[in-house]
Symmetry: C2
């Protein structure tokens, strides 16, 4: 089942370790603080235990959302890269 | 239907405006880059159009995930605040 994990972790070292754990479990980093990918329920539980252990008693907020096929297919993505240097700015509504 | 919106937006002004739009639509800020709350399908579409318009041609990644009741109830949250100053550090696995 697709799972989305998002976090806010002030401690740099903890954040890096938790990001590594997400990647180890096969999630893709879709944003700086968001990871997405398929996880079996057992792996989901394992990953949660692991990130909880890594976080220890440090402050942080970590949320994991399982996504059923219907929800997964209904996700909306707006993704824009920076225009190449020198590209026309026309259309920018700044 | 509960919706989760997460973003990566490098431009500070755009990010602030998009955060404000999410709050205007009744979403709660659950993390620095994550907003959550119930949205009617029409409001979801409106919000997406709005954030797309605010972003203009600037780089950014915005993803919105509708969450059915089952997915919503299956979400897992690890939330820890910073301990009060002077609190014992025992149990921290640093």
């Amino acid at each position: 089942m697709q799972c989305l994990l998002v976090y806010d972790i002030p401690d740099d070292a903890k954040r890096t370790k938790i990001a590594d754990a997400c990647l180890d479990y096969g999630l893709d980093r879709i944003q700086y603080s968001a990871f997405l990918g398929p996880l079996l329920p057992t792996h989901r539980d394992e990953l949660l235990l692991k990130v909880k252990k890594i976080l220890g008693r440090k402050p942080g907020n970590i949320q994991l959302f399982p996504l059923c096929q219907t929800d997964w297919e209904a996700r909306c993505v707006i993704a824009q890269n920076a225009p190449p240097p020198g590209a026309a700015e026309a259309g920018d509504d700044d």
